[in-house]
Amino acid sequence: MLSEVYVGIDVGSVSTNIAAIGSDQKIVFTYYTRTNGQPLVAIKKGLYRLKDELGDDTTIAGVGTTGSGRQLAGVMVGADIVKNEITAHAVATTNIKPDVRTIFEIGGQDSKLILVKDGMVVDFAMNTVCAAGTGSFLDHQAERLGLPIDRFGEMALKSKTNVQIAGRCTVFAESDMIAKQQYGFSKADIIMGLCRALVRNFINNLGRGKMLQPPFVFQGGVAANTGIKAAFEEELKQTVTVPDYFDVMGAIGAAILAWEEVEQKGCSSFRGLDSLKTDFTPSSFICEGCANMCEVIKVEANEVTIAVWGDRCGKWKENIKQVKLKEII
């Protein structure tokens, strides 16, 4: 059966996620992998997997990218839309749970709080200068305790005593955890204490001065951690929902946005899976054309510059169009 799918790619600091939705907006494919510092490789792997799983009858009718690596990913695949992850997450969540009011999203390097009203983002906050409460820190602690990260939550739920741990800063949290460990508290208690501390930090930091209203949805890689979910529910005294595809919500949002965009434009700018064989080499230089001294980032494919950003006056962007024209001729 011939079918069309819309693909969303979320290139985050820690993980790269891909999701595909059919034209009926049903999710047909999801993929979650660690970026390991090489987003381009991760995207390629994911897209080949998509091709394998969905078969040759499926065509990609549109692509959207999001996450901190959205721009490069967008150039590489020829995305129809490149969107920030806050909007992408909100789009995905309101699609799955239209009455949602508060979204907690905790990823590898940052955490976000998104407030929604009538399906529209009305306010948001992102952690500012500190990694406390993000996936990377939990990863680090799991490693230190010799515990696989996927068992972190399960372990936390076994806790029986309440252990106080400072959540304001990772340095304090870690020294607190070590102190408590030397007093002989169980691993489970310490881990649950950490979960509570992170949630407290999240709500104090991001929720400062904001009204958090139910229904609550918790998503992002860290939502796999049942300990954090329990700590959220304890703190808010409300149920917190973790959606089925909590770890790829950004990618789902990007896929939905790509679908909307293609509906509007009528065609897709997707370069096709074959284009993935091309090597993309990003580089940067300082343009010394004027006092602005812009840091210009350019991406080359087969030694032809295909994208440039960072130049304020458009001097380098102009050149690209000419190259493209020549190619066509």
Partner: protein, 362 residues
């Protein structure tokens, strides 16, 4: 005598003043990553971001041979009041001989102000000083006017970068102004340059206007605020700042011309009744002013560890609710990565657009 000054906003205008007085002018390089690093390395760790950038700028000016640095000071509860002294001391410790002259508000210390003016005047007559100051002031006001206009039209430019290019050209025109005649010529050339920018027509209801408030240095100087106005313009939003240097000069130096600022301060009375340093009170007033003038959102720039703006930030959620206007606070520091803030800015613009559309539908 080789003189220099802080790099803040329309440097073309400051340059004018010193040139007219016969000084050899050293324009400090536009702040780059190197400036910030130099500044951070040679500043107290807890000092705020503007202090560090200025420190870096002064060092770079000294490297180019500056012997005298003119700057403005502050008084009141904000730490900026000490900064000139600490900058001067740090430069001395680093082995630079440059002297730092700090202009405080005239009414605050008449005598000190007068002595500084005499220092600036040098061997020139008072008449010459006045003439140079007046010309500088006019250049500054006209450049400010152009910049304000460009950020209003650049979201609608047909060709990316044409407004930025125009701005570079306009600054060059004004750099060659030496008298009233030159000023008139620059003005007419500027009009032509602006006319050259091709614009697409956008309905009034589809326009998005964003006001920018915050600490004066980060509001005025694009090189250290990520070029916030350009970013917002590229996302299709018109921008206007709370601070333009010529307005600040109006308020500080020209009797009877600071009415606008006084009106803004009056609006803030309800939230902050005393001046707590920096521009905290003005910023609160500007939030209300922007809302009254039909702006769709506000971006608040706060240097990390800036006390007055921390106070503003804590009042913002309440004001955003009461005045029903989205406000985004961005914290600026040495960090050069833009990704994180770009995400916030884009999401903020998405939020405003959706809000706007919903309002038009209902």
């Amino acid at each position: 005598m080789k003189v220099s000054f802080p790099y803040m906003g329309p440097v073309t205008a400051y340059r004018k003043l010193f040139e007219q007085l016969g000084y050899e002018v050293i324009v400090p390089p536009r702040p780059t990553q190197r400036t910030v690093e130099l500044g951070a390395k040679n500043s107290p760790e807890f000092a705020c971001f503007p202090f560090k950038v200025l420190m870096g700028s002064y060092i770079e000016a000294c490297e180019l041979g500056a012997e005298l640095i003119f700057s403005s000071g502050g008084h009141g509860p904000c730490r900026a009041g000490f900064y000139g002294e600490i900058h001067a001391r740090n430069l001395k410790n680093l082995g630079y001989q440059a002297e730092v002259v700090i202009f405080d508000e005239p009414l605050y210390n008449w005598k000190g102000f007068y002595n500084n003016v005499k220092r600036l005047k040098g061997d020139n007559s008072f008449f010459r000083l006045l003439r140079a100051t007046f010309l500088t002031y006019r250049v500054m006001s006209e450049l400010d006017k152009c910049e304000r206009l460009l950020h209003r039209i650049s979201p609608y430019q047909r060709k990316a970068g044409s407004a930025e290019k125009a701005w570079l050209l306009i600054q060059k025109e004004y750099a060659n102004v030496f008298n009233g005649k030159g000023l008139a010529l620059a003005r007419s050339k500027t009009e032509e340059i602006i006319k050259e920018i091709e614009l697409s027509k956008v309905e009034e209801r589809d326009r998005i206007k964003i006001g920018i408030i915050g600490e004066i240095y980060v509001v005025l100087e694009p090189s250290i605020n990520m070029g916030i106005e350009n970013i917002l313009n590229d996302l299709g939003c018109e921008t206007e700042r709370s601070q333009y240097l010529s307005e600040w000069v109006d308020y500080m130096l020209i009797p009877g011309k600071g009415k606008k600022e006084k009106g803004i301060m009056a609006k803030a009375e309800k939230y902050i009744d005393i001046v707590i340093g920096g521009h905290a009170k003005q910023n609160i007033g500007h939030i209300i002013d922007f809302k009254e003038r039909g702006f769709d959102g506000i971006v608040h720039l706060k240097p990390f560890a800036c006390l007055p703006e921390l106070v503003t930030e804590s009042i913002i959620p309440e004001m955003s609710r009461v005045y029903d206007i989205p406000i985004l606070t961005l914290s600026l520091d040495e960090q050069s990565g833009l990704t994180n803030n770009l995400t916030r800015i884009e999401a903020f613009v998405d939020l405003i657009r959706k809000k706007d559309r919903a309002r038009h539908i209902s």
